[in-house]
């Protein structure tokens, strides 16, 4: 008899047949005696369809009105899921963000949740109803409809779990859990039974996009027990995302190998080796809203130095144009760019207590003749930038070297 919040994404809600399938899944939990609150996304493709419609009537749709339009996607699915539940004899009641009352700030299209009124939900649960809540949306203090931005339904799920003090928040998706790396690259990749919030954040931001980062941060902050599961597969335990480090000594030091293919490197050669140069180079880049990831400043000689950094590949042309414009100011010799970079990271809270992870990583890559172009580290991850053509090879050898392959765990 637990209180479970379940979140089903757009693919799980993608057709009437799939919605009926979700209803059967929810019914099973009810039959086991659990209280269930369900958060749903819009049917896959629906939000994009609505945005396209908006762009047909106005080049730059006003954000308040855009939220009025796109929030209908989830309003449709909450109603449909309730009907499907009632059709198989399960009491259910739907709520829009406004009806719950999920109070947010007034930042239309990217609102933040401020407060959740859980009274109506509790009353329905007590009366034996499944409560179905529209993800991705809320209402501001003036009664305006707001949305939380892409992936916001995960955040709704976690926030409701926190407000209701739920025993678990289950995120149903089209994968059956978090893997040690992408199984399309390493067939030996294993599903992790548990992963810490910190690791999950590193994995997510590095490209293993199972959960929206914001919802993971939220879950970590409010100590919500979060589980990722497949909505198309029955009986799996998925991956539990925990606050605590696994105390099992046999646990591998590294939890997974993350990667990102879409990197590009910029190098400014021969800049004066003096204070303030990093700001002079990166200031204009930041002003243009370009995210900079890894940064290296070589040791200078002859009073000049080389400065390199990576950006998302889509931002490269913009970044080059900006630097071309300001290069003269700081007297740089040359600007070089490389579109074919990739980033590979080993992630694991275990490395805090296990030195030697970095050297093992570098040795493994060196043995395959893979040149490391840049390095960045945090307490629980080490990332390297390499030529993109070596990406798959690097992921495979690191996965094996750190004992993540199925046989060796």
């Amino acid at each position: 008899m637990a209180l479970i919040v379940q979140k089903y994404g757009g693919t799980s809600m993608g057709s009437p047949e799939r919605i009926k399938n979700v209803a059967r899944k929810v019914a099973k939990f009810r039959a086991e005696g659990h209280d269930v609150v369900v958060v749903v996304s819009a049917m896959s493709g629906e939000t994009n369809r609505l945005i396209a419609l908006a762009k047909e009537v106005a080049a730059t749709p006003e954000p308040r009105e855009l939220d009025v339009v796109i929030s209908t996607g989830e309003q449709v699915t909450i109603g449909l899921l309730c009907m499907a539940l009632q059709d198989i004899g399960v009491k259910a009641k739907s709520y829009t963000g406004s009806q719950v009352r999920i109070l947010t700030d007034s930042s239309f299209t990217k609102a933040r949740i401020l407060e959740i009124d859980e009274e109506r939900m509790r009353r329905d649960l007590q009366q034996g109803s499944v409560v179905v809540v529209a993800g991705f949306q809320g209402v501001d203090a003036d009664g305006n409809i707001t949305t939380l931005g892409r992936g916001g339904s995960d955040t709704t799920g976690v926030a409701l779990a926190a407000a209701l003090n739920a025993d678990e928040c289950q995120i149903y998706t089209d994968v059956d859990g978090v893997y040690t790396t992408d199984p399309r690259i390493v067939p030996e990749a294993r599903k992790l039974d548990t992963i810490t919030f910190e690791e999950m954040l590193e994995m997510a931001s590095l490209g293993s996009k199972v959960l929206q980062i914001r919802s993971v941060e939220f879950a970590g902050k409010y100590k919500v027990k979060l589980r990722v599961l497949s909505s198309f597969q029955d009986g799996g335990e998925g991956t539990l995302i925990t606050v605590e480090e696994d105390s099992n000594m046999e646990q591998p030091v590294i939890s997974g190998i993350a990667f990102n293919r879409d990197e590009a490197k910029l190098t400014v050669l021969g800049v004066p080796d003096k204070p303030g140069i990093a700001y002079q180079i990166l200031g204009p880049i930041a002003e243009a809203n370009i995210d900079v990831d890894m940064i290296i400043q070589n040791v200078g000689h002859d009073g000049t130095t080389d400065f390199s950094f990576t950006v998302g590949r889509g931002d490269l042309d913009k970044a080059v144009k900006i630097l071309d414009g300001v290069k003269a100011h700081f007297g740089a010799r040359e600007l070089k760019s490389d579109k074919t970079m990739a980033k590979v990271s080993v992630v694991g809270v275990g490395m805090r207590s296990h030195p030697g992870v970095a050297s093992k990583m570098f040795r493994t890559l060196a043995e395959e003749g893979i040149n490391i172009q840049m390095i960045s580290t945090s307490e629980i991850k080490i990332s390297v930038a390499i030529e993109e053509k070596y990406l798959e090879l690097a992921v495979r050898v690191l996965h094996k070297a750190f004992g993540l392959d199925g046989g060796e765990a």
Copy 2:
């Protein structure tokens, strides 16, 4: 400087291009200095699409949840219209039924409006905004979303006009006004400049389906000045629906010729001519929710009589089956049915003060050899049931006889 409520139907909102067209229309009224509140329907076809989706997940969708789903149609169009207005520099703000607060009872899918809070709308109007309100929907006292039933957007328009004490409620549709009869049958049919509420009710219920009957009743009750106009044509005055009878003495006695093609007649022959027989025959029909329209009981002879009535053609088989079952009870000789009936009506408040309308109607039809099978009258209309094959002829000759043809007005 008037306050105008405008209602645009699904066809007018049927595509991004059409929505932009509505925005331009609204902008013109704003430019003339008027305050404008706009009520919109869902894009044409959208409500049916949503109902179909609901029926795919549940054979009998629960009404509360059905309303949650189908109310999204208008929520999309209010947002889109506001964006389109803002895009051409017109301040605008959208409201769902719940946001306005259009308070209704809790009869999901066919709710009745109880009260409208006009404060937020007034504030926006004062600040120079066009207010765009979702038609067809409201909210009950518990915060549940309700809908008003088919055609409910007309009712929303009239109700808002009443609540705001608007100078006029304009219903934009795909015809440019109310006609003396269907121009497809009588090319000489003229658009009426004015028509009374009572006449409009008779015209509407008899098949000239320009406005939803309920909204006309509502407008009559609250003395809302109602005007029907084309949304695809500029500059027309449409038809004004008024409380008062036109005092113009030149006004023809009859305002229009209405008709209904889908009638069927049932005759029970040789029933005992005694009190209670009408109830015995029609009671079971009413219990089966079949609407009976015209009724005739012949003068009896030899202690028996014949009893006839009309029903909608779609109900005929059901009615025959019911009467076959009960016929023995009242000892009827025979049951006859006729599927090919039609009803033609002359409508006009003028007939109150002009006797002789009925005889003129009967003579006109007789001159064409059209046999009148049944007659029913009210204070402002006379209806006759005739064979369907004579329908067009009857409408044409009556239209001419009562001076409604273009040239003679």
